[in-house]
């Protein structure tokens, strides 16, 4: 109903603006180009102008410190109802960060353990200015790839400069016209883009629903390509390890069983799950205790658990060699920056215990403990939480857009930074707040956050669950 009222208001305001009664604050087209075909359709921007603008201050908040467990947010006010922002110059210090993807707490400001990163920066510089296939393969990249292959227990790995580009430039290399892709309906935009760019036929299956996937697989093999009924060249199943908006973990054992039975290939995107699930942080495969050879293509990013940036693809040596020569980003895009590669090497060594300490394992265990505590307490308080009990990504449902805005603003007043998501990243009526736990959140910080959530829950009537235990 909230959307209905907002929509009505939206039409009213648009009318006022068009007839000149209200000043229009948005940027406009140039005088000389007024006769050109309009760049944006009116309707496309309707949502943006009327709904999003009102609550825009909850996103793109800028910070001025490292994204650790506590960070400093730059205070920002708007004099004209969110059309433009002005930084007041004040900094809200020590805001508890429960929004950034910092699962192992490795993204923090410089300390002595990052000495090697400093050295690499001083020797190698920041840029590479050449593609992997030309002059851009540094020895640092080779070191990183060998270490990563050992970590994941696969034959070989290859790294790329950006996680998003890893999906969008490599899926088209593996499949093409005449192939079939089964993609989970809640897959990330980068996977969807890569699948579209490949030219293969895409069929989506209901989120984590193995029965639906099996039916689709059977139909695909029996009836072949549409209209011609020729057999499909390859079938590729695209799933994610942990889904970022749902917090659910993929049902890997069943998918692997299906894949073996129907001879399909499995591509898993472990952006959120690498380094954060599994007894030693090696991802969902380890979490379920499967054989490394069961999954054909491992993909992941280094942004979340490793505190760096970039992506990788790992698997059998033939696969990785093929990608080295045929990947779009290996031929046309520059390689990873050397200090970033060194940070990943340092994080991997920490996780694997190669630096001589057990810090890696300790962080993982702390993350598991934090996740359990947080989820249990929220459930007891009576909130609706999505996702698997072991996933460190905790979405809490808020449902209505006005509550979304109120929740985020109140939390910032209490010095807690949360992430709220609405349409279009989630379905229209299922706006949510998403908490990302970290190994470096202390029990005290979690308690502060939980208390604040509890108070706000009572204030805003967010406790929808009927299974309240308290």
């Amino acid at each position: 109903m909230g959307y209905g009222i907002a929509t009505l208001f939206g039409y009213f305001r648009d009318f006022l603006r068009n007839s000149g009664l209200e000043k229009c604050n948005a940027a406009v087209e140039r005088e000389e180009q007024k006769h050109f075909v309009p760049l944006y359709q009116d309707f496309e921007n309707f949502y943006k102008r009327n709904l999003y603008m009102r609550i825009r201050d909850n996103w793109s908040r800028s910070i001025c410190s490292a994204p650790g467990p506590l960070f400093d947010v730059m205070e920002r006010v708007s004099d004209d109802y969110n059309w433009t922002f002005r930084f007041t110059g004040n900094i809200i210090k020590d805001v508890i960060n429960i929004g950034s993807y910092n699962f192992l707490g490795l993204a923090d400001k410089y300390d002595e353990s990052m000495r090697t990163v400093k050295e690499v920066l001083e020797t190698y510089g920041t840029g590479v200015a050449s593609t992997r296939q030309e002059m851009g393969t540094l020895d640092k990249h080779k070191e990183l790839e060998d270490l990563l292959a050992k970590f994941l227990n696969v034959e070989a790995a290859m790294t790329f400069g950006m996680g998003f580009a890893t999906n969008s430039t490599n899926i088209p290399v593996l499949v093409g016209k005449g192939c079939l892709i089964f993609s989970d309906e809640l897959n990330h935009t980068s996977i969807v883009l890569g699948a579209r760019l490949s030219g293969a036929t895409i069929r989506t299956f209901k989120h984590n629903n193995m029965q639906c996937l099996e039916n689709l697989l059977r139909d695909a093999i029996i009836y072949g390509q549409p209209r011609t009924h020729r057999a499909w060249k390859k079938i590729l199943i695209l799933v994610e390890g942990i889904y970022s908006m749902e917090g659910s973990i993929v049902n890997l054992p069943e998918i692997v069983a299906l894949k073996k039975k129907y001879k399909a290939y499995l591509y898993i995107d472990e952006a959120h799950s690498i380094g954060s699930v599994g007894p030693t942080g090696r991802g969902v495969r380890e979490y379920f205790g499967l054989n490394p050879e069961d999954i054909d293509v491992y993909m992941g990013t280094f942004t979340k658990s490793f505190g760096a940036s970039g992506g990788y693809i790992a698997g059998k040596k033939d696969l990785v060699d093929y990608l080295r020569f045929n990947s779009h980003s290996a031929a046309y895009a520059v390689s990873m920056s050397p200090p970033v590669a060194e940070q990943i090497i340092r994080s991997l060594k920490l996780l694997m215990g190669l630096d001589g300490t057990t810090q890696g394992l300790q962080r993982l265990q702390q993350l598991v403990a934090n996740t359990k505590y947080f989820r249990q307490t929220l459930k007891k308080m009576g909130f609706i939480i999505y996702g698997n009990d072991d996933s460190p990504v905790v979405p809490m449902l808020l449902y209505q857009p006005c509550k979304v805005a109120a929740f985020a603003r109140h939390m910032l007043e209490r010095k807690i930074g949360v992430v709220v998501v609405g349409f279009p990243a989630t379905p229209l009526a299922e706006a949510r707040a998403r908490f990302c736990l970290s190994a470096v959140h202390t029990r005290q910080m979690l308690d502060t956050v939980l208390e604040a959530i509890n108070e706000l829950g009572d204030l805003l009537a967010l406790k929808y669950s009927r299974q309240r235990k308290s």
Partner: protein, 464 residues
């Protein structure tokens, strides 16, 4: 009262029934009977689906064999021997263990080993660490990013700039943000691969015009105008775009921007300019091809460039008027759904921009060096230089092809190996043969930089 009114209406109806002509009643009766029949008849499927038994289905599933996930590669594929660089890719580069002068990286302004840039990156590393742990919308916006965007906008004299964390994704996300299915894009045949991917993702109508041929573009625009007159309602909502590069990656030539701007106003199409190779190279202050020709920057709707060539960092940016750029903050896929640029790289880019602003004479130095080396390489037998004389990235192509692409590639590799033996590092331009729309012939690629000394440029012709 109500029943009286109903009865009154009923009486009217019955009267109307009596008064209607017979054929009308018969027609209505037939129609009603037909509807009842359609409602109750069984629906038929176009194809009979139930003719496969369970056993046959199982057999089909058993028999189906997919292709291997990746086809096998022969061991003597030329790309198997890729170069490994140990140490920094600066002026002197150690390739496969041998120290050479670096003519292969795109280090145009020599900023890859500038101590100021490294110091700025180090300061940022100390304050922020390495990663940003989130996309721009979710606490991934650091004050360094906002600084860099402001700096870039001020430098390029536009209203606003937006940063992406990867140069390839910049133009590949910018084009589909504006151009959707049904829109028309006129693009040069020699457009680089990132633009091609952007065009593919946008699902618009693509019309190619011959490389740098303004007459061909005008012909296409005129044809489109004729089409528009046939269907004016559709024409009123179809957006048109012209996508060109400042300095083309594939040919090293410059685009004829003044004529393109004239065509823009004549045929009402918007221009997107990709300046990866010309930003920080052309123009008196390095502002790119608009400054080189003296065109007002407001005439170009969107300028997109990669920071990986002149700015010694990673990433890319788009700049233009706020009306155009602000849209990408919600619809640029590479912006909204990807983690932001690591702050140390953003700080490096800011420092590099500062250096560019403080020493505007490096652009003149670069131009002179490019012209020198072009002249010096003109006379080599068997090879011709492809590219403008002031373009720092140029290609060396075989004058007479041997006839087969593979043999050409092998020959060029021989030449490059010889150069490496004499301590000059060059590289072959890598293309994905099956993916490129218009595959350029095999050629070696060289990147000139302003830090190359006099001696090294004479060393090059000696090799030939």
């Amino acid at each position: 009262m109500a029943t009286a009114a109903e009865q009154w209406v009923l009486v009217e109806m019955v009267q109307a029934l009596y008064e209607a002509p017979a054929y009308h009643l018969i027609l209505e009766g037939i129609l009603i009977l037909w509807i009842i029949r359609l409602l109750f008849s069984k629906t038929y499927k176009l194809q009979e689906r139930s003719d496969l038994t369970i056993k046959e289905k199982e057999e089909l599933i058993e028999e189906w064999q997919p292709e291997p996930l990746v086809p096998p590669i022969s061991k003597d594929h030329p790309a198997f021997n890729y170069n490994i660089v140990s140490g920094p890719p600066s002026h002197k580069i150690v390739v496969n263990g041998k120290e050479c002068i670096n003519f292969a990286s795109f280090n145009f302004l020599g900023l890859l080993d500038s101590p100021r840039v490294k110091a700025a990156a180090l300061a940022s590393l100390k304050k922020y660490g390495v990663g940003t742990c989130g996309p721009r919308g979710f606490y991934g916006t650091f004050d360094v990013h906002l600084d860099l965007e402001e700096h870039l906008a001020k430098f390029m004299k536009t209203e606003e700039a937006i940063i992406y964390s990867y140069g390839f994704s910049t133009i590949a996300s910018a084009i589909p943000a504006y151009s959707k299915r049904g829109d028309i894009i006129f693009v040069d045949r020699a457009a680089c691969f990132a633009i091609q991917k952007g065009l593919q993702a946008s699902r618009s109508d693509i019309k190619l015009f011959n490389h740098n041929d303004v007459a061909d573009l005008e012909r296409l625009l005129k044809e489109q105008e004729v089409e528009d007159q046939k269907n004016p309602r559709k024409a009123r909502v179809t957006r048109r775009f012209i996508v060109v590069e400042g300095l083309y990656m594939n040919t090293g030539s410059i685009c004829p921007l003044p004529e393109l701007v004239k065509l823009k106003y004549k045929y009402k199409a918007r221009i997107f300019l990709e300046e990866s190779l010309s930003f920080g190279v052309l123009g008196e202050h390095g502002r790119g091809v608009t400054e080189h020709y003296g065109i007002s920057i407001d005439d170009i709707d969107l300028i997109s460039a990669s920071m990986e060539n002149s700015l010694a960092s990673i990433g890319g940016f788009c700049c233009g008027r706020s009306f155009v750029i602000d849209h990408q903050r919600l619809s640029g896929q590479g912006y909204c759904f990807s983690a932001s640029l690591p702050p140390l790289l953003a700080a490096a880019a800011i420092e590099a921009l500062n250096i560019m602003e403080e020493n505007p004479d490096i652009f003149a130095v670069l131009k002179k060096k490019c012209e020198q080396i072009h002249k010096a390489l003109q006379g080599i037998s068997g090879l011709k230089v492809v590219g403008e004389c002031f373009s720092p990235a140029f290609h060396l192509q075989l004058k007479d092809s041997t006839g087969s692409r593979e043999a050409d590639v092998k020959l060029l590799q021989e030449i490059i190996n010889q150069c490496m033996n004499k301590s000059i590092a060059l590289t072959q331009a890598r293309y994905l043969e099956k993916e490129e729309k218009f595959l350029p012939p095999p050629r070696g690629r060289a990147g000139e930089s302003c830090i190359h000394h006099q001696g090294s440029s004479t060393g090059c012709p000696a090799v030939g």
